[in-house]
Symmetry: C2
Subunit: 283 residues, 2 copies
Amino acid sequence: MTNGIKDGFYREITPGGFGLIIKAGKVLISEQSPFQKVEIFETDSQLGRVLTIDDLMMTTEGDEYHYHEMIAHVPMMHHKAPESVLVIGGGDGGTVREVLKHKTVKRVVLCEIDGLVIDACKKYLPTISCELDNPKVEILVQDAIEYIKDKKNEFDIVLIDSTDPLGPGEGLFTEEFYTNVKNSLKKGGIVSAQSESPFVNKEEIKKMYNLLKKVFPICSTFTSNIPTYPGGYWAWAFCSETVEPLSYFADDRCDEITKSCKIYNKEYHNARFALPNYLKELL
Amino acid sequence: MTNGIKDGFYREITPGGFGLIIKAGKVLISEQSPFQKVEIFETDSQLGRVLTIDDLMMTTEGDEYHYHEMIAHVPMMHHKAPESVLVIGGGDGGTVREVLKHKTVKRVVLCEIDGLVIDACKKYLPTISCELDNPKVEILVQDAIEYIKDKKNEFDIVLIDSTDPLGPGEGLFTEEFYTNVKNSLKKGGIVSAQSESPFVNKEEIKKMYNLLKKVFPICSTFTSNIPTYPGGYWAWAFCSETVEPLSYFADDRCDEITKSCKIYNKEYHNARFALPNYLKELL
Protein backbone atom coordinates (compact mmCIF):
# COMPACT_ATOMS: atom_id res chain seq x y z
CA MET A 1 0.00 0.00 0.00
CA THR A 2 1.42 3.37 -0.98
CA ASN A 3 1.07 6.47 1.15
CA GLY A 4 -1.40 9.21 0.26
CA ILE A 5 -5.15 9.55 -0.16
CA LYS A 6 -7.16 6.55 -1.40
CA ASP A 7 -10.83 5.64 -0.89
CA GLY A 8 -11.39 8.67 1.33
CA PHE A 9 -8.52 8.01 3.72
CA TYR A 10 -5.04 9.51 3.93
CA ARG A 11 -2.55 6.81 4.94
CA GLU A 12 1.09 7.26 5.87
CA ILE A 13 3.03 4.20 6.89
CA THR A 14 6.55 5.01 8.09
CA PRO A 15 9.56 2.73 7.50
CA GLY A 16 8.73 1.46 10.99
CA GLY A 17 5.77 -0.46 9.49
CA PHE A 18 3.06 1.57 11.17
CA GLY A 19 1.67 5.04 10.86
CA LEU A 20 -1.19 7.43 10.54
CA ILE A 21 -4.64 7.17 8.98
CA ILE A 22 -6.97 10.16 8.59
CA LYS A 23 -10.48 10.35 7.16
CA ALA A 24 -9.92 12.78 4.28
CA GLY A 25 -12.39 15.28 2.90
CA LYS A 26 -12.10 17.60 -0.07
CA VAL A 27 -8.64 18.04 -1.60
CA LEU A 28 -8.06 21.78 -1.80
CA ILE A 29 -4.80 21.65 -3.72
CA SER A 30 -2.63 18.85 -5.08
CA GLU A 31 0.18 20.19 -7.23
CA GLN A 32 3.62 19.11 -8.30
CA SER A 33 6.27 21.84 -7.93
CA PRO A 34 9.78 21.46 -9.39
CA PHE A 35 10.70 19.93 -6.02
CA GLN A 36 7.79 17.94 -4.64
CA LYS A 37 4.07 17.24 -4.50
CA VAL A 38 2.23 19.72 -2.28
CA GLU A 39 -1.22 18.75 -1.06
CA ILE A 40 -3.76 20.26 1.33
CA PHE A 41 -7.00 18.46 2.16
CA GLU A 42 -9.90 19.05 4.48
CA THR A 43 -10.98 16.71 7.26
CA ASP A 44 -13.99 16.76 9.54
CA SER A 45 -11.71 15.67 12.38
CA GLN A 46 -10.12 17.75 15.11
CA LEU A 47 -7.09 18.05 12.80
CA GLY A 48 -8.88 20.45 10.47
CA ARG A 49 -6.98 21.02 7.21
CA VAL A 50 -3.88 18.94 6.56
CA LEU A 51 -0.70 19.81 4.61
CA THR A 52 1.36 16.96 3.15
CA ILE A 53 4.45 17.00 0.95
CA ASP A 54 5.19 13.93 -1.16
CA ASP A 55 2.57 12.10 0.91
CA LEU A 56 4.35 12.81 4.18
CA MET A 57 2.65 14.72 6.99
CA MET A 58 3.87 18.28 7.38
CA THR A 59 1.29 19.97 9.57
CA THR A 60 -2.40 20.23 10.41
CA GLU A 61 -4.52 23.13 11.59
CA GLY A 62 -5.50 21.10 14.64
CA ASP A 63 -2.09 20.18 16.02
CA GLU A 64 0.43 22.54 14.37
CA TYR A 65 1.07 24.47 17.58
CA HIS A 66 2.66 21.38 19.15
CA TYR A 67 5.52 21.75 16.67
CA HIS A 68 5.74 25.50 16.03
CA GLU A 69 5.69 26.62 19.67
CA MET A 70 8.53 24.24 20.52
CA ILE A 71 10.92 24.93 17.62
CA ALA A 72 10.61 28.70 18.16
CA HIS A 73 10.22 29.42 21.87
CA VAL A 74 12.64 26.89 23.34
CA PRO A 75 15.73 28.42 21.70
CA MET A 76 14.48 32.00 21.74
CA MET A 77 13.83 32.07 25.48
CA HIS A 78 17.53 31.33 26.02
CA HIS A 79 18.60 34.42 24.08
CA LYS A 80 18.69 37.76 25.89
CA ALA A 81 17.41 39.88 23.00
CA PRO A 82 16.89 38.05 19.70
CA GLU A 83 16.59 40.67 16.96
CA SER A 84 17.33 38.85 13.71
CA VAL A 85 16.02 35.36 13.03
CA LEU A 86 16.47 33.03 10.06
CA VAL A 87 13.87 30.32 9.42
CA ILE A 88 15.02 27.64 6.96
CA GLY A 89 12.15 25.76 5.34
CA GLY A 90 8.97 26.46 7.27
CA GLY A 91 7.04 27.76 4.26
CA ASP A 92 3.73 27.20 6.06
CA GLY A 93 4.56 30.22 8.23
CA GLY A 94 3.84 28.64 11.63
CA THR A 95 7.37 29.08 12.92
CA VAL A 96 7.48 32.70 11.70
CA ARG A 97 4.21 33.39 13.52
CA GLU A 98 5.69 32.14 16.81
CA VAL A 99 9.00 33.98 16.32
CA LEU A 100 7.15 37.28 15.95
CA LYS A 101 5.61 36.88 19.40
CA HIS A 102 9.03 37.94 20.73
CA LYS A 103 8.84 41.74 20.79
CA THR A 104 12.63 42.03 20.53
CA VAL A 105 12.56 40.67 16.97
CA LYS A 106 13.19 43.25 14.23
CA ARG A 107 13.78 41.01 11.20
CA VAL A 108 12.77 37.48 10.22
CA VAL A 109 14.18 35.93 7.05
CA LEU A 110 12.19 32.96 5.76
CA CYS A 111 14.28 30.95 3.29
CA GLU A 112 12.01 28.33 1.68
CA ILE A 113 13.04 26.51 -1.48
CA ASP A 114 9.50 25.94 -2.75
CA GLY A 115 7.26 28.93 -3.51
CA LEU A 116 4.31 26.60 -3.98
CA VAL A 117 4.36 25.69 -0.28
CA ILE A 118 4.15 29.37 0.68
CA ASP A 119 1.40 30.16 -1.83
CA ALA A 120 -0.69 27.11 -0.92
CA CYS A 121 -0.44 27.81 2.82
CA LYS A 122 -1.25 31.50 2.40
CA LYS A 123 -4.40 30.51 0.54
CA TYR A 124 -5.60 27.49 2.50
CA LEU A 125 -3.99 27.60 5.96
CA PRO A 126 -4.53 31.21 7.09
CA THR A 127 -4.31 30.48 10.84
CA ILE A 128 -0.79 29.15 10.28
CA SER A 129 0.52 31.50 7.57
CA CYS A 130 -1.08 34.64 9.07
CA GLU A 131 2.16 36.51 9.79
CA LEU A 132 3.92 35.94 6.47
CA ASP A 133 2.89 39.42 5.31
CA ASN A 134 4.20 41.09 8.44
CA PRO A 135 6.60 43.91 7.40
CA LYS A 136 9.34 42.42 9.58
CA VAL A 137 9.34 39.27 7.42
CA GLU A 138 11.57 38.93 4.36
CA ILE A 139 10.59 35.92 2.23
CA LEU A 140 13.24 34.35 0.02
CA VAL A 141 12.21 31.55 -2.32
CA GLN A 142 15.65 30.08 -2.51
CA ASP A 143 17.75 27.05 -1.58
CA ALA A 144 18.99 27.68 1.97
CA ILE A 145 22.19 25.76 1.18
CA GLU A 146 23.17 28.52 -1.25
CA TYR A 147 21.74 31.37 0.82
CA ILE A 148 23.66 30.53 3.98
CA LYS A 149 27.06 30.07 2.30
CA ASP A 150 28.37 33.62 2.62
CA LYS A 151 26.46 34.79 5.70
CA LYS A 152 28.64 35.85 8.62
CA ASN A 153 27.60 37.21 11.99
CA GLU A 154 24.07 37.97 10.86
CA PHE A 155 21.50 36.06 12.93
CA ASP A 156 20.75 35.69 16.62
CA ILE A 157 18.59 32.63 16.02
CA VAL A 158 18.49 30.12 13.16
CA LEU A 159 15.57 27.67 13.07
CA ILE A 160 15.93 24.70 10.72
CA ASP A 161 12.31 23.82 10.06
CA SER A 162 13.04 21.38 7.25
CA THR A 163 11.43 18.30 5.77
CA ASP A 164 13.04 14.90 6.34
CA PRO A 165 16.60 14.10 5.13
CA LEU A 166 15.23 12.86 1.78
CA GLY A 167 14.58 14.79 -1.43
CA PRO A 168 15.10 18.58 -1.36
CA GLY A 169 15.78 18.54 2.40
CA GLU A 170 18.78 16.19 2.14
CA GLY A 171 21.48 18.89 1.88
CA LEU A 172 20.22 20.42 5.13
CA PHE A 173 21.63 17.47 7.08
CA THR A 174 25.37 17.83 6.24
CA GLU A 175 28.46 19.01 8.12
CA GLU A 176 29.11 21.70 5.52
CA PHE A 177 25.62 23.12 5.92
CA TYR A 178 25.80 23.11 9.72
CA THR A 179 29.18 24.86 9.57
CA ASN A 180 27.71 27.59 7.37
CA VAL A 181 24.78 27.95 9.77
CA LYS A 182 27.21 28.33 12.67
CA ASN A 183 29.13 31.03 10.79
CA SER A 184 25.92 32.93 10.13
CA LEU A 185 25.31 33.34 13.87
CA LYS A 186 26.07 36.43 15.88
CA LYS A 187 27.80 36.07 19.25
CA GLY A 188 25.46 34.27 21.66
CA GLY A 189 23.47 32.87 18.74
CA ILE A 190 21.41 29.71 18.98
CA VAL A 191 20.24 27.17 16.41
CA SER A 192 17.34 24.80 16.73
CA ALA A 193 16.75 22.11 14.15
CA GLN A 194 14.02 19.54 13.77
CA SER A 195 15.67 16.15 14.29
CA GLU A 196 13.08 13.48 13.50
CA SER A 197 11.26 10.88 15.61
CA PRO A 198 13.28 9.32 18.43
CA PHE A 199 11.11 6.19 18.33
CA VAL A 200 11.00 5.65 14.55
CA ASN A 201 14.09 7.37 13.05
CA LYS A 202 16.84 6.13 15.38
CA GLU A 203 19.56 5.82 12.71
CA GLU A 204 18.81 9.23 11.19
CA ILE A 205 18.98 10.88 14.62
CA LYS A 206 22.29 9.26 15.46
CA LYS A 207 23.81 10.39 12.16
CA MET A 208 22.48 13.93 12.48
CA TYR A 209 23.74 14.46 16.04
CA ASN A 210 27.16 13.05 15.15
CA LEU A 211 27.46 15.79 12.53
CA LEU A 212 26.02 18.55 14.75
CA LYS A 213 28.43 17.69 17.56
CA LYS A 214 31.39 18.02 15.19
CA VAL A 215 30.31 21.58 14.41
CA PHE A 216 28.78 22.93 17.64
CA PRO A 217 30.54 22.75 21.02
CA ILE A 218 27.13 22.82 22.71
CA CYS A 219 24.53 20.44 21.34
CA SER A 220 21.51 19.37 23.39
CA THR A 221 18.22 17.75 22.55
CA PHE A 222 14.68 18.58 23.51
CA THR A 223 11.56 16.58 22.71
CA SER A 224 7.80 16.98 22.74
CA ASN A 225 4.57 15.37 21.61
CA ILE A 226 3.40 15.87 18.01
CA PRO A 227 0.13 13.94 17.57
CA THR A 228 0.43 13.48 13.80
CA TYR A 229 4.16 12.70 13.48
CA PRO A 230 5.58 9.14 13.55
CA GLY A 231 5.47 7.78 17.09
CA GLY A 232 3.71 10.93 18.34
CA TYR A 233 7.07 12.15 19.62
CA TRP A 234 9.58 14.52 18.09
CA ALA A 235 13.10 15.79 18.80
CA TRP A 236 14.86 19.06 18.09
CA ALA A 237 18.54 19.88 18.40
CA PHE A 238 19.56 22.93 20.45
CA CYS A 239 23.00 24.06 19.24
CA SER A 240 25.28 26.95 20.05
CA GLU A 241 28.90 27.93 20.32
CA THR A 242 28.48 29.55 23.71
CA VAL A 243 24.97 29.22 25.14
CA GLU A 244 24.13 26.29 27.42
CA PRO A 245 20.39 25.61 27.17
CA LEU A 246 19.60 26.26 30.82
CA SER A 247 22.01 29.17 31.42
CA TYR A 248 19.66 32.10 30.74
CA PHE A 249 15.89 32.34 30.59
CA ALA A 250 13.88 35.32 29.31
CA ASP A 251 11.37 35.62 32.16
CA ASP A 252 10.47 39.11 30.93
CA ARG A 253 9.06 37.76 27.65
CA CYS A 254 7.83 34.39 28.86
CA ASP A 255 4.57 35.30 30.64
CA GLU A 256 3.12 37.26 27.76
CA ILE A 257 4.07 34.62 25.19
CA THR A 258 2.73 31.78 27.34
CA LYS A 259 -0.68 33.48 27.34
CA SER A 260 -0.83 33.20 23.55
CA CYS A 261 0.31 29.55 23.45
CA LYS A 262 -1.59 26.27 23.65
CA ILE A 263 1.37 24.22 24.82
CA TYR A 264 4.28 26.43 25.82
CA ASN A 265 5.04 27.47 29.40
CA LYS A 266 8.28 27.76 31.35
CA GLU A 267 7.86 24.58 33.39
CA TYR A 268 6.98 22.60 30.27
CA HIS A 269 9.97 24.14 28.47
CA ASN A 270 12.47 23.09 31.12
CA ALA A 271 11.01 19.58 31.23
CA ARG A 272 11.67 19.16 27.48
CA PHE A 273 15.38 18.51 28.09
CA ALA A 274 14.73 15.42 30.26
CA LEU A 275 15.10 12.50 27.85
CA PRO A 276 14.11 8.83 28.04
CA ASN A 277 16.94 6.32 28.50
CA TYR A 278 16.81 4.95 24.97
CA LEU A 279 17.28 8.39 23.47
CA LYS A 280 20.12 9.31 25.84
CA GLU A 281 21.91 6.12 24.77
CA LEU A 282 21.37 6.98 21.13
CA LEU A 283 22.90 10.46 21.34
CA MET B 1 -14.60 2.03 7.68
CA THR B 2 -14.66 -0.07 10.85
CA ASN B 3 -11.65 -0.60 13.07
CA GLY B 4 -9.73 -3.87 13.04
CA ILE B 5 -7.77 -5.95 10.53
CA LYS B 6 -8.77 -5.85 6.87
CA ASP B 7 -6.71 -6.48 3.72
CA GLY B 8 -3.54 -7.00 5.74
CA PHE B 9 -3.76 -3.75 7.72
CA TYR B 10 -4.94 -3.04 11.26
CA ARG B 11 -6.78 0.29 11.36
CA GLU B 12 -7.98 2.18 14.39
CA ILE B 13 -9.64 5.50 13.85
CA THR B 14 -10.43 7.30 17.09
CA PRO B 15 -13.49 9.52 17.59
CA GLY B 16 -11.06 12.33 16.69
CA GLY B 17 -11.27 11.21 13.03
CA PHE B 18 -7.69 10.03 12.75
CA GLY B 19 -5.69 7.16 14.11
CA LEU B 20 -3.30 4.31 13.65
CA ILE B 21 -2.55 1.96 10.77
CA ILE B 22 -0.25 -1.08 11.10
CA LYS B 23 0.78 -3.63 8.51
CA ALA B 24 -0.57 -6.81 10.11
CA GLY B 25 0.90 -10.29 9.82
CA LYS B 26 -0.42 -13.59 11.13
CA VAL B 27 -3.28 -13.46 13.65
CA LEU B 28 -2.18 -15.60 16.59
CA ILE B 29 -5.45 -15.47 18.50
CA SER B 30 -8.80 -13.82 17.91
CA GLU B 31 -11.37 -14.93 20.46
CA GLN B 32 -14.53 -13.58 21.99
CA SER B 33 -14.63 -13.83 25.80
CA PRO B 34 -17.81 -13.14 27.80
CA PHE B 35 -16.58 -9.52 27.95
CA GLN B 36 -14.79 -8.61 24.75
CA LYS B 37 -12.87 -9.67 21.64
CA VAL B 38 -9.21 -10.39 22.41
CA GLU B 39 -6.80 -10.42 19.49
CA ILE B 40 -3.03 -10.74 19.12
CA PHE B 41 -1.36 -10.45 15.72
CA GLU B 42 2.19 -10.42 14.44
CA THR B 43 3.79 -7.58 12.53
CA ASP B 44 7.15 -7.30 10.79
CA SER B 45 7.41 -3.75 12.12
CA GLN B 46 9.30 -2.45 15.13
CA LEU B 47 6.08 -2.94 17.11
CA GLY B 48 6.43 -6.74 17.11
CA ARG B 49 3.29 -8.51 18.30
CA VAL B 50 0.19 -6.40 18.99
CA LEU B 51 -2.63 -6.94 21.52
CA THR B 52 -6.00 -5.36 20.79
CA ILE B 53 -9.31 -5.61 22.65
CA ASP B 54 -12.51 -4.91 20.72
CA ASP B 55 -10.29 -3.49 17.94
CA LEU B 56 -8.70 -0.93 20.24
CA MET B 57 -4.95 -0.85 20.79
CA MET B 58 -3.90 -2.21 24.16
CA THR B 59 -0.16 -2.79 23.84
CA THR B 60 2.64 -3.92 21.53
CA GLU B 61 5.89 -5.74 22.22
CA GLY B 62 7.77 -2.85 20.62
CA ASP B 63 6.44 0.08 22.64
CA GLU B 64 4.81 -1.41 25.78
CA TYR B 65 7.55 -0.10 28.08
CA HIS B 66 6.46 3.50 27.34
CA TYR B 67 3.24 2.77 29.23
CA HIS B 68 4.22 0.18 31.85
CA GLU B 69 7.30 1.99 33.17
CA MET B 70 5.29 5.17 33.69
CA ILE B 71 2.17 3.77 35.39
CA ALA B 72 4.30 1.76 37.85
CA HIS B 73 7.46 3.72 38.67
CA VAL B 74 6.08 7.24 38.90
CA PRO B 75 3.79 6.50 41.88
CA MET B 76 6.03 3.86 43.44
CA MET B 77 9.09 6.12 43.63
CA HIS B 78 7.07 8.47 45.84
CA HIS B 79 6.36 5.74 48.42
CA LYS B 80 9.02 5.03 51.04
CA ALA B 81 8.56 1.25 51.11
CA PRO B 82 5.75 -0.13 48.97
CA GLU B 83 5.07 -3.71 50.09
CA SER B 84 1.58 -4.53 48.85
CA VAL B 85 0.38 -3.46 45.41
CA LEU B 86 -2.95 -3.91 43.64
CA VAL B 87 -3.08 -3.83 39.84
CA ILE B 88 -6.59 -3.43 38.43
CA GLY B 89 -6.89 -4.62 34.83
CA GLY B 90 -3.43 -5.03 33.36
CA GLY B 91 -3.94 -8.69 32.39
CA ASP B 92 -1.01 -8.50 29.95
CA GLY B 93 1.31 -8.47 32.98
CA GLY B 94 3.48 -5.51 31.93
CA THR B 95 2.58 -3.41 34.95
CA VAL B 96 3.16 -6.34 37.32
CA ARG B 97 6.61 -6.89 35.76
CA GLU B 98 7.58 -3.26 36.49
CA VAL B 99 6.11 -3.31 40.02
CA LEU B 100 8.29 -6.31 40.91
CA LYS B 101 11.45 -4.35 40.09
CA HIS B 102 10.89 -2.64 43.47
CA LYS B 103 12.61 -4.97 45.94
CA THR B 104 10.42 -3.74 48.81
CA VAL B 105 7.36 -5.38 47.24
CA LYS B 106 6.13 -8.55 48.99
CA ARG B 107 2.71 -9.01 47.42
CA VAL B 108 1.10 -8.01 44.11
CA VAL B 109 -2.59 -8.67 43.52
CA LEU B 110 -3.63 -8.61 39.87
CA CYS B 111 -7.39 -8.22 39.56
CA GLU B 112 -8.34 -8.72 35.91
CA ILE B 113 -11.94 -9.37 34.86
CA ASP B 114 -11.06 -11.38 31.76
CA GLY B 115 -9.09 -14.62 32.08
CA LEU B 116 -8.73 -14.81 28.32
CA VAL B 117 -6.50 -11.70 28.34
CA ILE B 118 -4.17 -13.32 30.86
CA ASP B 119 -4.05 -16.67 29.04
CA ALA B 120 -3.49 -15.10 25.62
CA CYS B 121 -0.69 -12.84 26.90
CA LYS B 122 1.00 -15.67 28.78
CA LYS B 123 1.07 -17.67 25.56
CA TYR B 124 1.86 -15.03 22.95
CA LEU B 125 3.45 -12.05 24.74
CA PRO B 126 6.06 -13.65 27.01
CA THR B 127 8.30 -10.56 27.27
CA ILE B 128 5.35 -8.67 28.77
CA SER B 129 3.68 -11.40 30.88
CA CYS B 130 6.95 -12.90 32.12
CA GLU B 131 6.41 -12.17 35.83
CA LEU B 132 2.81 -13.37 36.16
CA ASP B 133 4.03 -16.68 37.60
CA ASN B 134 6.21 -14.96 40.19
CA PRO B 135 5.28 -16.36 43.65
CA LYS B 136 4.67 -12.82 44.95
CA VAL B 137 1.81 -12.43 42.44
CA GLU B 138 -1.77 -13.39 43.29
CA ILE B 139 -3.97 -13.47 40.19
CA LEU B 140 -7.71 -12.92 40.62
CA VAL B 141 -9.95 -13.32 37.60
CA GLN B 142 -12.65 -11.10 39.01
CA ASP B 143 -14.44 -7.79 38.56
CA ALA B 144 -12.37 -5.20 40.44
CA ILE B 145 -15.54 -3.27 41.28
CA GLU B 146 -16.67 -6.16 43.46
CA TYR B 147 -13.20 -7.05 44.74
CA ILE B 148 -12.39 -3.57 46.04
CA LYS B 149 -15.71 -3.03 47.87
CA ASP B 150 -14.73 -4.38 51.29
CA LYS B 151 -10.99 -3.77 51.24
CA LYS B 152 -9.68 -1.49 53.98
CA ASN B 153 -6.15 -0.42 54.74
CA GLU B 154 -4.63 -3.13 52.56
CA PHE B 155 -2.51 -1.66 49.76
CA ASP B 156 0.40 0.78 49.57
CA ILE B 157 -0.10 1.29 45.86
CA VAL B 158 -3.12 0.79 43.59
CA LEU B 159 -2.54 0.97 39.82
CA ILE B 160 -5.66 1.28 37.66
CA ASP B 161 -4.45 -0.16 34.37
CA SER B 162 -7.87 -0.32 32.76
CA THR B 163 -9.30 -0.16 29.28
CA ASP B 164 -11.24 2.92 28.19
CA PRO B 165 -14.44 4.06 29.96
CA LEU B 166 -16.56 1.92 27.62
CA GLY B 167 -17.67 -1.71 27.96
CA PRO B 168 -16.33 -3.69 30.93
CA GLY B 169 -14.06 -0.82 31.97
CA GLU B 170 -16.91 1.67 32.46
CA GLY B 171 -17.49 1.02 36.18
CA LEU B 172 -13.83 1.80 36.86
CA PHE B 173 -14.50 5.49 36.17
CA THR B 174 -17.06 6.27 38.92
CA GLU B 175 -16.98 8.16 42.22
CA GLU B 176 -18.07 5.02 44.11
CA PHE B 177 -15.22 2.98 42.68
CA TYR B 178 -12.62 5.68 43.42
CA THR B 179 -13.92 5.94 46.99
CA ASN B 180 -13.51 2.20 47.47
CA VAL B 181 -9.99 2.40 46.01
CA LYS B 182 -9.15 5.17 48.48
CA ASN B 183 -10.44 3.08 51.39
CA SER B 184 -8.30 0.14 50.31
CA LEU B 185 -5.12 2.21 50.74
CA LYS B 186 -2.84 2.06 53.74
CA LYS B 187 -1.58 5.31 55.27
CA GLY B 188 0.70 7.06 52.76
CA GLY B 189 -0.82 5.06 49.92
CA ILE B 190 -0.81 6.24 46.33
CA VAL B 191 -3.04 5.51 43.34
CA SER B 192 -2.15 5.92 39.72
CA ALA B 193 -4.79 5.52 37.03
CA GLN B 194 -4.56 5.65 33.28
CA SER B 195 -6.54 8.72 32.21
CA GLU B 196 -6.74 8.70 28.42
CA SER B 197 -5.30 10.93 25.69
CA PRO B 198 -5.10 14.65 26.52
CA PHE B 199 -5.27 15.54 22.82
CA VAL B 200 -8.10 13.22 21.76
CA ASN B 201 -10.19 12.46 24.87
CA LYS B 202 -10.61 15.95 26.34
CA GLU B 203 -14.17 15.42 27.62
CA GLU B 204 -13.40 12.02 29.19
CA ILE B 205 -10.37 13.48 30.99
CA LYS B 206 -12.35 16.40 32.37
CA LYS B 207 -15.06 14.10 33.69
CA MET B 208 -12.62 11.65 35.21
CA TYR B 209 -10.59 14.30 37.06
CA ASN B 210 -13.74 15.96 38.37
CA LEU B 211 -14.63 12.66 40.05
CA LEU B 212 -11.09 11.94 41.26
CA LYS B 213 -10.82 15.39 42.85
CA LYS B 214 -14.03 14.80 44.79
CA VAL B 215 -12.48 11.69 46.32
CA PHE B 216 -8.76 12.46 46.70
CA PRO B 217 -7.44 15.62 48.39
CA ILE B 218 -4.28 15.30 46.28
CA CYS B 219 -4.77 14.69 42.57
CA SER B 220 -2.04 15.46 40.05
CA THR B 221 -1.46 14.48 36.46
CA PHE B 222 1.59 13.16 34.68
CA THR B 223 1.94 12.52 30.96
CA SER B 224 4.27 10.73 28.58
CA ASN B 225 4.62 9.57 24.99
CA ILE B 226 2.93 6.31 23.92
CA PRO B 227 3.69 5.80 20.20
CA THR B 228 0.63 3.62 19.48
CA TYR B 229 -2.03 5.42 21.54
CA PRO B 230 -4.27 8.18 20.13
CA GLY B 231 -2.27 11.38 19.71
CA GLY B 232 0.92 9.61 20.82
CA TYR B 233 0.45 11.18 24.24
CA TRP B 234 -1.09 9.76 27.40
CA ALA B 235 -2.04 10.96 30.88
CA TRP B 236 -2.17 9.25 34.25
CA ALA B 237 -3.69 10.50 37.47
CA PHE B 238 -1.55 10.53 40.61
CA CYS B 239 -3.89 10.46 43.63
CA SER B 240 -3.40 10.25 47.36
CA GLU B 241 -4.85 11.37 50.66
CA THR B 242 -1.51 12.54 52.01
CA VAL B 243 1.35 12.25 49.52
CA GLU B 244 2.23 15.20 47.30
CA PRO B 245 3.88 13.88 44.12
CA LEU B 246 7.19 15.64 44.60
CA SER B 247 7.46 15.34 48.39
CA TYR B 248 9.53 12.14 48.65
CA PHE B 249 11.66 10.32 46.11
CA ALA B 250 13.14 6.83 46.53
CA ASP B 251 16.70 7.54 45.41
CA ASP B 252 17.81 4.25 46.96
CA ARG B 253 15.72 2.22 44.50
CA CYS B 254 15.87 4.54 41.50
CA ASP B 255 19.37 3.85 40.12
CA GLU B 256 18.95 0.09 39.97
CA ILE B 257 15.49 0.32 38.42
CA THR B 258 16.60 2.92 35.87
CA LYS B 259 19.24 0.47 34.58
CA SER B 260 16.50 -2.01 33.68
CA CYS B 261 14.27 0.58 31.98
CA LYS B 262 14.13 1.87 28.42
CA ILE B 263 12.41 5.15 29.31
CA TYR B 264 12.39 5.72 33.05
CA ASN B 265 14.94 7.86 34.90
CA LYS B 266 14.61 10.40 37.70
CA GLU B 267 14.98 13.51 35.56
CA TYR B 268 12.43 12.19 33.07
CA HIS B 269 10.10 11.28 35.96
CA ASN B 270 10.12 14.78 37.44
CA ALA B 271 9.56 16.32 34.02
CA ARG B 272 6.34 14.29 33.60
CA PHE B 273 4.41 16.66 35.88
CA ALA B 274 5.02 19.70 33.65
CA LEU B 275 1.88 19.94 31.52
CA PRO B 276 1.05 21.85 28.34
CA ASN B 277 -1.27 24.86 28.70
CA TYR B 278 -4.28 23.22 27.08
CA LEU B 279 -4.18 20.31 29.54
CA LYS B 280 -3.72 22.58 32.56
CA GLU B 281 -6.82 24.52 31.49
CA LEU B 282 -8.76 21.27 31.10
CA LEU B 283 -8.01 19.98 34.61
